[in-house]
Every structure is written in structure tokens, then in C-alpha cells.
Amino acid sequence: MFFNPGIIALFISSLLISGMVLYASFYGALILRYWDIKSGSETQLNLERRTYLISTIISYACVFQLCSFFLFIYTADTLHPFFTGAMCAVGSLNVNKWGFPTVILKTITFLLAGLWLIINFTDNRGFDYPLIKVKYLLLLIITPLILAETIMQSNYFLGLNPEVITSCCGSLFTADTKGVASEIVSLPRSVMEIAFYGTMMGALVLGAVFYRTGKMGYGFSAAISVTFLISIASFISFISIYFYELPTHHCPFCILQKEYGYIGYFLYLLLLAGGLTGMGVGLLMPFRQMPSLKETLPAIQKHLTLISVICYLSFTAIATFQIIFSNLKM
């Protein structure tokens, strides 16, 4: 284990977040079990008062969770000089078996925490706690994942051994090895370009349709989710090489480094924020007819759609700009 400020901050924040969501989940379970808005019982009124505290606690926990995703990647990147063979976060994450599963779990909890914040924001706009059961059900799904993430992250940090010779991104994100990363790299470039620009165009058109008419919300949300995955794959497959100006370098982590102006953080933020808000639109679709949300929900969904479209458009614009004006010509 290293005594690095990032590691210490992540350790403490994960423990705090876990404690907060565990405490909140206890009351969340009580709310799911006993909530009855029609009742004037002491239990019900107590739950109504308690939900303010619990919602606030979870909101903070979710915001911390969003920040911890980027801090984890940044920490993994800053640790790479300590490991022989590592050139970026990939090398640090490869030091033991917990690195990459932690990143994947952190991405999932990032999205779920963001969705929880969207549900909570919407619930607070209704006078009769319209989504209270949905948001506490989602909390009960998030909590075990956050606890698992805390354990995996702890195992990862505790298992960091500077004696380990790790593999660099060049050996992982190449067509010559086996695994998901190499399969993505091996995909034909033309297919990936068509998939990226096709799905992106489809998602943006559906976003415009939903923004203007309020129709095709599920379609837009599904398109955004698919585009999210394809964008990540496309970044590894053909976008990244224009940032590195090296046709064989496909690493999705090197772009987080200073040499590239930390542009990777911004690109991933755009992708995650766009994906999250787009998925949020679909998540809210079933509640559009709820009496207390009928007036406010369409406006919330429109805002989410706008954010999602702007994020994805910006991502596409930056990637396309780099492809056109990069010194690498292919």
C-alpha cells in the first residue's frame, strides 16, 4: 500500500459514502415497508420528516461518488511511475486483479448515483413524494454495489506492490492480444466510424424530436445508451490515435495525462454526463402521467435532453476536429 494523498482521500471517502448509504438504506427500507401517504399515523409523519434528512445524506453521498470516479482515475494515473512497465493508469490498474473491476464498478455506480440524483430532483418537484418508493428502491440497489466497490478498491490499494512488473497500455490495447480491448482495437475502422457517426446522429435526431414534441423518449434514451458504449469503443478504436498522433496507440487512459492537456477528463465527463442525462430521460418516462408531476416532468426531461445533446455534440465535435486537424493523416 502507498501513502498517497489520492489513495487516502479515496479510502476515507469510500468509507464515508458506504456509511452514509448504509444508514440511508436502513431508513429507505423502512420507507419502502411502511410508507402510506394517506395515513396520518405517527410512523408516517415521522417518515415524512425523516426523508428530508435521508435524501440530503444520499444526495451528498452520490455527489461524492461522482467525484470519486475521476479521483480514482487520476490517482491510478499518478501512481504509474512507481511500477516498472507502467506508462499510464493502465499499468497501475494492472498491478493486481482488482484494478480494472474497480474501474468498471465505479463507472456503474457513477451512472446509478447520477440517476438517483435525477430521480430525487424530480421527486422533490412533486407535492406528494411521487417517486419516493422508486428512489429508495434504487438506493437499495446502489448500496450493495457501493459496498462492493469499497471492498474492491481497498483490495486494490492494499495489494499495490511496487515489486510487480506490470504491462503497459501498448501491450493491452493492441490487436495482437486476447480480450475485449484487443477485440475493439481489431474492429474494422470503417465499421466503427459508421457505427459512431450513425448512432450519434440517430441519438441527436431523436433528442431533437423528443425536445420538440415530447415523443420518442424511450427511443432517445435507448439510443443514448447504445451511443455511450459505441463512443467508448470508437474512442479506443479510431479516435484516440488522432490525439496521440500514433496509428498504433489506442489507450483510453494516456489521454488523461498532462501531455494531452488533460483533455481525456473533459471528454469522459462529456460522455458520462451526456449518457447519464439521456438515460435519465428514459428512466422518468413511466412517470409522465403522474398527477403531481404532469406539469413539471416534461420540463425536467427537456432540460436533461438538452444537456445530453449538448454533451454528445461537444464530444463529437472535439473528436471530429481532432480527426481532421491532427498531424496524423490516415
Binding site: 396520518g40 405517527e42 408516517q44 409523519l45 415524512e48 428530508y52 422533490n124 407535492f127 406528494d128 413524494y129
Partner: protein, 227 residues
């Protein structure tokens, strides 16, 4: 119509100092009438008024205001109802020292976001109604008891509430000012406002303006009066 359903209020619940201020009160208060809550100190009148006016939440029970249940409302919705539906006249007036009479009257209307000039005109009209125009710029600490009381009433009216809640409004007034207060309540009643007063002052509950006297003791209603 304001309907109270099994309202219970407990302070310091679960502690050795636990105190039950209201015991399962059920009461229907008619609109456009003057209702007085009468009872000795500690009978729960102020607690009940606070709950009725959405300034406190009950421990159990519900309140239905004009057909809408309001005790379950999240705070942001309750604030709007409190601001738009109720006008409060406090026992000690609770005027803010250091600012002028007109500023005190305007204060509850600031969050409504109306243009300042319009707000100032409304406040000035209210001060005129209560013969306080000449005191508009004066600091409230310079006011006499009667003037302070009328300023408090003007402030309660600035948001044009449907319901006026007054907690022991005559406790610090002499007989003449107390009767003057009830005359003002008569005018409000004539305008169709619903008035709730907590008082054990005979000038209040024996006034002909009053439609109903609800007697309370030890957090219970001992006589709901005649509607």
C-alpha cells in the same frame, strides 16, 4: 374550511421531558367566520395555531385546507401555502427592530417577487387603512403599543391572505385598543376572511363578531362550540 384530523403534538418525544401538547384533536373550522380558541395558558392554543398555520408539523394527524391535505406537503410547497394563505399576528407582534414601519409591512411579501414599486404601494395603502401613514418611515421601536399592533396587522395582510391567525392579540393592549382590534376583525370578516384567534381575553371571546368559541384545556378540546 379547515379540517383537523386526529392532531397530536408531542415535544421531546422519548425523552424524560416528553410533553404532549395536543391530544388527538379533531375539529372542523368553517371558512369566512371568526373562531376563537379559548383556554388557559398551557392548554395548547398556540401550538394548535402554529400547526394550523403550517409553522409547525404535528406528530400525528392530518390537516385538510380547502379540500387539500397539507401536513404531508414537502417544505417547499408548504412555504408557498403559508405565505399565500395565512397572515399571522403574533402575541408580541415580532416586528423587526432597526427597520422602518413600511419595511416591516413589506417584509413577508419580498419572496413573492412582485415589483418593488407595487409592493411599496400596497404597503402604503395598508398603512393608510390603519392610520399609520405618518409613521411609515419611523423605526418600529418608536411606536406606541396600539401603533405596533396595527403595524403587525398590516404586515399580516400584505400578502392578501384568506386566513388570519392571531395569537393572544390583545394580551398587551388596554380595553380601548382591544375593542379597536375586534372592530378591525369585524371588517376582515365582512371582507370574507377566515379568522382564527387564540385568546383568553373576554373582550375577544365575548365579542359579537365571534361566531364560535372552542374551549381547550390540557391539549384537549373540552367544548367545540356551536358552528
Amino acid at each position: 374550511m379547515i379540517e383537523l384530523q386526529n392532531i397530536r403534538k408531542v415535544f421531546n418525544e422519548g425523552l424524560s421531558s416528553e410533553y404532549i401538547a395536543l391530544h388527538d384533536l379533531t375539529l372542523a373550522i368553517a371558512a369566512h367566520q371568526v373562531t376563537v380558541l379559548k383556554g388557559p395558558s398551557g392548554s395548547g392554543k398556540t401550538t394548535l395555531l402554529s400547526i394550523l398555520g403550517c409553522m409547525a408539523r404535528p406528530t400525528a394527524g392530518r390537516i385538510v385546507l380547502a379540500g387539500r391535505e397539507i401536513t404531508s406537503l414537502p417544505e417547499r410547497f408548504l412555504t408557498d401555502i403559508r405565505r399565500q394563505t395565512f397572515g399571522f399576528i403574533f402575541q408580541h407582534y415580532n416586528l423587526l427592530k432597526g427597520i422602518s414601519v413600511i419595511e416591516n409591512v413589506m417584509l413577508p411579501a419580498y419572496p413573492q417577487g412582485e415589483p418593488f414599486s407595487l409592493l411599496k404601494k400596497q404597503a402604503a395603502d395598508l398603512l393608510k387603512l390603519f392610520n399609520l401613514t405618518h409613521k411609515a418611515a419611523a423605526k418600529v421601536e418608536w411606536l406606541s403599543g396600539g401603533e405596533a399592533q396595527r403595524t403587525a396587522i398590516a404586515r399580516a395582510l400584505v400578502n392578501q391572505p384568506e386566513v388570519i391567525i392571531a395569537d393572544e392579540p390583545t394580551a398587551h393592549l388596554d380595553t380601548r385598543l382591544s375593542r379597536e382590534f375586534m372592530d378591525i376583525m369585524r371588517d376582515f370578516k365582512a371582507q370574507g376572511k377566515t379568522i382564527l384567534i387564540a385568546s383568553h381575553d373576554p373582550i375577544v371571546h365575548e365579542s359579537e363578531v365571534v361566531d364560535r368559541v372552542v374551549q381547550m384545556r390540557d391539549g384537549r378540546i373540552i367544548d367545540a362550540g356551536v358552528i
